[in-house]
Assembly symmetry: C2
Homo-oligomer: 225 residues x 2
């Protein structure tokens, strides 16, 4: 069972990306010459990697190495549940499963460096003046907790959920007020700092229940589906 040429070239691009001093890759034409294959094969291989979240490709500009392995899941969820309200409810249910455990594991495992980042995100949320910054800080807080859990798969899931949530929030949906989020995040943060797994998990659960109960679109509270 031999690999297709495209598969082989995909792997060579990954290797190249890992050893390249810049985040910029050679052009399609250069790689075609370098690997001894047609430009179409390079193109197809690069497109695979783009879809997998490993490259970003711009016409006229070239290819850039990125690390966004969560992107395919975000796309899949969008396709699976096209209705945004439904999607938000289901995302919140999944969050109610995942995030209390993230918080518990973070309380047990978090390193000082990441706790520092977490404090930074919390402070950015407290101090923010515009909605966009609020959303970014809020989601960053949650992603850092997932990262602090030490479970890479959980962190990838959280990054994807975060992207999806950000997209909905930019379409007018609202989960919780800033004040409630700040208060809830503070409790979560303090429990993690105190290495109290149960308290962290409980605080996260309450935060997400608040989010579910307060779901609004354009200042209109939504009924559950």
């Amino acid at each position: 069972m031999s690999l297709s040429l495209v598969e082989t070239v995909s792997r060579r691009i990954i290797t190249l990306a890992r050893h390249h001093s810049s985040d910029r890759l050679p052009t399609e034409r250069d790689m075609s010459a370098k690997f001894g294959v047609s430009r179409g094969v390079v193109r197809e291989a690069a497109k695979r990697l783009e879809l997998q979240g490993l490259l970003e490709i711009r016409q006229g500009s070239g290819m850039k190495v990125v690390d966004k392995l969560h992107k395919p899941l975000s796309s899949a969820v969008n396709m699976l549940v096209p209705d945004e309200k439904q999607r938000l409810y289901q995302l919140t249910e999944v969050r109610l499963a995942l995030e209390p455990e993230n918080a518990r594991l973070a309380a047990e495992r978090a390193k000082p460096s990441i706790l520092k980042k977490l404090r930074g995100a919390h402070e950015r949320l407290m101090n923010c003046r515009d909605f966009e910054t609020q959303v970014l800080a809020d989601m960053e807080f949650h992603c850092l907790i997932a990262e602090a859990s030490g479970n890479k798969i959980g962190a990838l899931l959280m990054q994807s959920l975060s992207d999806l949530l950000q997209s909905s929030l930019s379409h007018g949906y609202r989960l919780v007020t800033k004040d409630k989020a700040v208060a809830d995040h503070y409790k979560i943060f303090m429990a993690i700092m105190a290495h109290n797994g149960n308290a962290a998990a409980d605080a996260m659960r309450k935060h997400l229940l608040n989010a579910r109960n307060d779901l609004t679109l354009k200042n209109r509270k939504l009924a559950p589906p």
Copy 2:
């Protein structure tokens, strides 16, 4: 911000797939003529859909519509955590978060038709004679519970986890003995049938803790990472 031709053709292929009487799609050459684009564009569009888990493509044979939206996540997780033992441990942690909630929601929401399927999977596990059938029935049981929860996103995550687990199990890893799995699944099933969410979640949690504690490779019990 206009769509690229490839993106446009991708969407047209999806529409075609949804309205086509067979699960077989027209050839690259036919779609090229039908859509008025070059064969390269059709090819690239089709490859996108293949990577997204919506098509399967075979040289000499053509394209088949499938529904495997979970595949991109499985690939991403494989890339993220290449080490299989690490991956299994992390998968089990994620399962410990997700699956008790799946079981709880299944207890609240499951319809008779899916409970019947669940019973079927349980019976297949009880009666199986070979390891491969055991694995399939075991994973099917878990995926049906996720489906019974009514949360499509949770079900997609579970399908992906299931694929990943099956892959590891085919490489020699073992999670629990068949007898333990049968006994644990029975408790989960009975709690779901009784619409007792808490009992279902507890039974699932215990089952997964057993799985974590019993992780072996080639009859050798593994230490946690």
